[in-house]
Symmetry: C2
Subunit: 239 residues, 2 copies
Amino acid sequence: MSNPTAAMLVIGDEILSGRTRDTNTNHLAQALTARGIRLMEARVVADDQPAIIAAVNALRGAWDHVFTSGGIGPTHDDITADAIAAAFGVAITHRADAMALLQAHYDRAGLPFNAARQRMARIPDGATLIDNPVSTAPGFTLGNVHVMAGVPRIFEAMVAGVLPALTGGDPLLSQSLRVNRGEGEIAGPFGALAADFPDLSMGSYPFTLNGAHGTHLVIRGTDATRLNSAMARLQDLFG
Amino acid sequence: MSNPTAAMLVIGDEILSGRTRDTNTNHLAQALTARGIRLMEARVVADDQPAIIAAVNALRGAWDHVFTSGGIGPTHDDITADAIAAAFGVAITHRADAMALLQAHYDRAGLPFNAARQRMARIPDGATLIDNPVSTAPGFTLGNVHVMAGVPRIFEAMVAGVLPALTGGDPLLSQSLRVNRGEGEIAGPFGALAADFPDLSMGSYPFTLNGAHGTHLVIRGTDATRLNSAMARLQDLFG
């Protein structure tokens, strides 16, 4: 497939301890699918510099884009910006444009622009800022890595700012058919159909409703004509 | 820390396309934390054999336990068991005990035990079965890899079956304090406190309520006495 590829990297102890449920991966997955960019893998790592560096370097080498979430706030456990700089082997400083944005924000709010808040202006050399319309403290893009906040409202706003500038692909289309039979009953003919359409991806997702088994059959691809042909065959089989 | 470590591997195109929201990672994270096992990383990969093999081999080499979710049903896109066998370099066959379990299950239901359903009895050589009290088709443990279903109700039942047999560690305790101040205001003294307790993990999680900023401060560790000492200091600072 010629669609651009991407990976998600969620950074944060609170996800791995179970305290917080990650919702950013699902949001990004849906946004990328709509844009024709294929999410190939996702990872969650702790607030641990070697773990972040290893994951960032593995993912940015493997895929066209990497999106990160978390660890760019003002507290001691916010180490993402430093880890990204280390992963790329570049310096990190309090950058003038980010300092000016934040200074103006805290002046407006009548709050001191203290050392902790100034930490949020630390940006690796060579990065471009990502706008934060919610709370000002910017994300940044360095190479093919887009570094964003973990708070879902801010993450989502940053994704909305970044995606339009990326080259998308043919939209990833999907159609589905709900069948009132269990997977084990439809698996044979469904697998044979999938073998006839190697350019499409076909998946089956079982459910139970009032004690009865059913299956959602989903066909994904970028060619609407092929998708329609496969769906017609699926309807003939199970519709 | 001497607690055992673990990783989660979610397998499935439907998570990466955004169609389905993964809830199994959060469930496992909470269950492991209660058992004193530290979840160190999580990954999501597609229904793609090379991707599954690479992830399984990376994770089983790095951590004490690996838990996988998804891809063990009867359809053509259920390739996890074969991928695990390939990752370990062992054969995979329709195993007699799994065949007998499933035969009895489908006999009771009055359904044919067809080729698709028999696929769910394919178990890598050397594995032990994981009980599936919901829908019979078993998971399995091979080496330090626990292979489980993706359907949350079944995944959760399998986790409940597997965890008691694993060696846990000291329970991972946490205490938290809610502070009606933004992160930028508390970051300095909170970071200094964290530096005084290098054996504990301290994190801060901002929230907004009715337009006002607040922060949850969380302290995690295994030594209740140290946790209490740190919480007392935290109360003095912000309580």
